[in-house]
């Protein structure tokens, strides 16, 4: 699975990396972020591209797994 490590980055970088990944990767993508609001922005970005996702809390933030494109 493609992984995007956006931990420690400040906005809007996590969203920019997500946007880039969602555009180039049709398979599943795992995105790591630090802040709750970054998780929400990453989720919005996924939704905006019509992709489904599952978010979980990690030790140092959140992981958003974006499903493969249908």
């Amino acid at each position: 699975m493609k992984e995007v490590d956006a931990r420690g980055l400040s906005c809007p970088e996590p969203m920019m990396l997500t946007e880039e990944a969602v555009k180039s990767e049709k398979g599943a993508i795992r995105i790591l972020v630090t802040e709750p609001h970054q998780r929400m922005n990453v989720e919005k970005c996924a939704r905006d591209h019509g992709r489904e996702y599952t978010s979980t809390e990690t030790e140092d933030g959140f992981a958003v797994v974006i499903d493969p494109q249908k």
Binding site: T18, E19, C45
Partner: protein
């Protein structure tokens, strides 16, 4: 001048999005000693925009201070935005700015010409406001910051307060919303040139004409919409007025591209903090998420929010049109109840008048 300097890269949060969250602020400020003086007409208990101190029966002084980190890359524009925003607090109290002082933080290793441009931008706005700029204070700091302390004058009987709105009042906002989201999109290099142009125009428009056009109308409450977003400032107004406010999302003017960028996830962290702060008061109904995000979006140098009696609202809108503000004026909602035990803000598609 050094090329390739992007001022916004210095700042984690730019503009009014750099404000400390409302929850944190109220916790800290609550521990400060209370000051009282019979001449103090407006203090900070009601979270208003500035202090107002009565000198005579005809004259009161308004004192305010506002500064922030870069919200745009161009130094001259940053100076204009920061000064416009600082001057706005005086207009929001119904006053005229008279004296301004610069407050500056600037890295010692950056080209001083950049600082010169920031100050020139600020000075031009102070001149446009017909106030005088008379020095200020500067220190070295890793992150550039700029703003003004402004003193203004107002008649003690004509001070606009951020509370006092009454049942039936119409809420009119004098600038379109979306600057936090658009500035985030600019930072991400995803904003259209039109959106970028519009946000700069809106952020550098003085609230002077709006304030002047409102003279002669009954203003029950007024504030400028800045870092806490429309919902945050409405919640301050609702709480301080013990009012219930209905916001009609369909009537609100937004900047070009704001909805699109918000849906993409280009939302500043401050918007989520603002949402949390108003959550106890907010009934979002079935409003689209994008509206909740945009109404919580921290505005940099936003417009004036007026609560006016319904029978004067149409005339006031026409007065704003005649004054040619250069921004989009919209009816954002109305006060459905006042003097209530539980102040609230309700989001609806449309608000019913009458």
């Amino acid at each position: 001048m050094q090329e390739e300097i992007r001022l916004t890269q210095f700042a984690k949060h730019g503009g009014c999005a750099a404000k400390i969250g409302p929850d944190t602020l109220s916790r800290v400020l609550g521990r400060l000693p209370k000051f009282s003086d019979p001449a103090l007409l407006v203090g900070f208990e009601t979270s208003d925009d500035a202090a107002v101190y009565k000198i005579t029966d005809d004259v009161a002084v308004i004192q305010t201070l506002d500064f922030f980190t870069p919200v745009v890359d161009d130094p001259y524009t940053f100076g204009q935005v920061a000064a416009t925003n600082a001057l706005s607090d005086v207009y929001a109290m119904g006053g005229e700015p008279k004296i301004a002082l610069n407050i500056v933080c600037f890295p010692g290793d950056l080209d001083p010409d950049i600082l010169g441009e920031i100050l020139r931008g600020g000075a031009d706005k102070v001149r446009e406001a017909d106030a005088v700029l008379v020095g200020g204070h500067s220190i070295q700091d890793d992150v550039p910051k700029y703003g003004l302390s402004v003193a203004g004058l107002v008649h003690p009987d004509r001070v606009y307060k951020n509370f006092g709105c009454r049942k039936g009042d119409v809420l009119i906002l004098t600038k379109q919303l979306g600057s936090g989201v658009i500035n985030t999109a600019v930072k991400a290099q995803m904003a259209s040139p039109e959106a970028e142009k519009e946000v700069i125009r809106v952020m550098t428009t003085l609230n002077r004409k709006a304030k002047e056009a409102a003279a002669g109308f009954t203003v029950h409450a007024c504030t400028d919409v800045t870092g806490f977003g429309l919902l945050g400032h409405c919640s301050e107004m609702a709480e301080a007025s013990r009012a219930r406010i209905e916001i009609g999302t369909e009537g609100i003017a937004f900047m070009h591209g704001a909805k699109e960028y918000a849906a993409m996830g280009l939302i500043p962290g401050g918007a989520y903090r603002n949402q949390e702060h108003v959550s106890g008061l907010l009934d979002a109904g079935d409003a689209d998420e994008v509206y909740v995000d945009l109404l919580s979006d921290p505005q940099t140098s936003g417009g004036l929010l007026f609560a006016v009696p319904e029978e004067e609202a149409e005339d006031m809108l026409r007065a704003f049109e005649r004054a040619d503000l250069g921004t989009k004026v919209s009816v954002v909602g109305r006060v459905t109840d006042s003097g209530v035990d539980r102040p609230a803000i309700c989001l609806r598609d449309k608000v019913e008048m009458g």
